[in-house]
Symmetry: C2
Subunit: 220 residues, 2 copies
Amino acid sequence: MDPSVSAATVGRLPAYLRAAIDLSASGLASVSSERLSEEAAVHPATMRRDLASLDIAGTRGVGYDVKYLIVQISHVLGLNQEWPVVIMGSGNLGKALANYGGFSERGFPVAALVDIDAELVGTTIGGVLVHAPPDLAELVDRENIMVGVITTPPGVAQEAADLLVSNGIRSILNFTPTALETPADVTVRSVDIATELQILSFYRQRGLAADVGTGVPLEP
Amino acid sequence: MDPSVSAATVGRLPAYLRAAIDLSASGLASVSSERLSEEAAVHPATMRRDLASLDIAGTRGVGYDVKYLIVQISHVLGLNQEWPVVIMGSGNLGKALANYGGFSERGFPVAALVDIDAELVGTTIGGVLVHAPPDLAELVDRENIMVGVITTPPGVAQEAADLLVSNGIRSILNFTPTALETPADVTVRSVDIATELQILSFYRQRGLAADVGTGVPLEP
DNA sequence: CAGTGTGAATTTCTTCACAGCG
DNA sequence: CGCTGTGAAGAAATTCACACTG
């Protein structure tokens, strides 16, 4: 019914999907929003509204069909196709991600690594070949790369982003603390470990969990 | 003035801090909210309100003193002390994080790794010694560990969390896709790479950036 | 009759717009 | 004069609560 999906809703979909997969694995065929939302740590009404906004319907008096949930949410997230990924920068993090099975397993195969270090170019990390930056154009084309992951040093992150963008990549996952400048039609998600740790220390310092209501008292 | 800080505000503080540090590095002594908020990709009024809620004041007609901003935000985030970290699980990601300089550099020294693999216990990764799980109690005590980072396989993430909690750790950074159950006074931040990629593919599928207003049209 | 789907109420967060201060 | 600090307005998101349906 509702023709649009809010960013907040999108942010929760992966959690719903995981919850549904978990419940399915434990043999459940049908769930109430109560049960599923508990699993996903969300308010039941929020979950029902989210699913309704995606036209994912349950059965009144019964709940949601777990298999159907998985299929529908996967579809909305675009997980019925593969999204090949290129990792820019083969430092510690880049290497770890290339070795990390989780990517391909979840539909995001690591198609290539790119690094400026001539020593590394041509070597293989976690079964993935390291290429030189100028090769990117061809790679994107040949491997049908959809997503760029930036794990370079912060100083050259913008450069890496520019290179991705100029080669037609419009989805970027940025692991550096750099705020990237990109055209409006490029989606960037940033994951900064320092940011996460700093937020943790804010709450820790006050002896409070992060989800205590909405307001956190300040020291006098 | 305002005695409380909202979660939304806390989430933006690290970005303000980074922006201030960057501007300071380029020699700027004073910034307007206009300039700083641009750097942090936030609305100027939002930034002024955030800072005001922390009692961080600027000078009317001038702006904010950059050095003062850095000191104050750092203080609010608790960055004037060190927060030693223990990494649970020395698989690919755990190893990468141990090797990753960024932690210690930013006040979160990696004090120890913990792994169940007896082969790994006693070895050193990135200068950090790997310990057996039963050693955690002593480690927490001796190294004054404040934060637990979980990089185990998803199946044992809850176990790792339980171990952390039972040893008094109340801040957890979880890199697994598992939704952890913890007492109410424990703060958990989760970073799941698959979640981020799935959100990217949602928007990519629709040819839209993530920040286009608030509602995203659904396919017909 | 259990549990969805959703108007309406509420809460939270953002942005406007301007008074007021340095 | 320029820019902060903030009341007031506005927009979004969440939650309540219940009519309604399988």
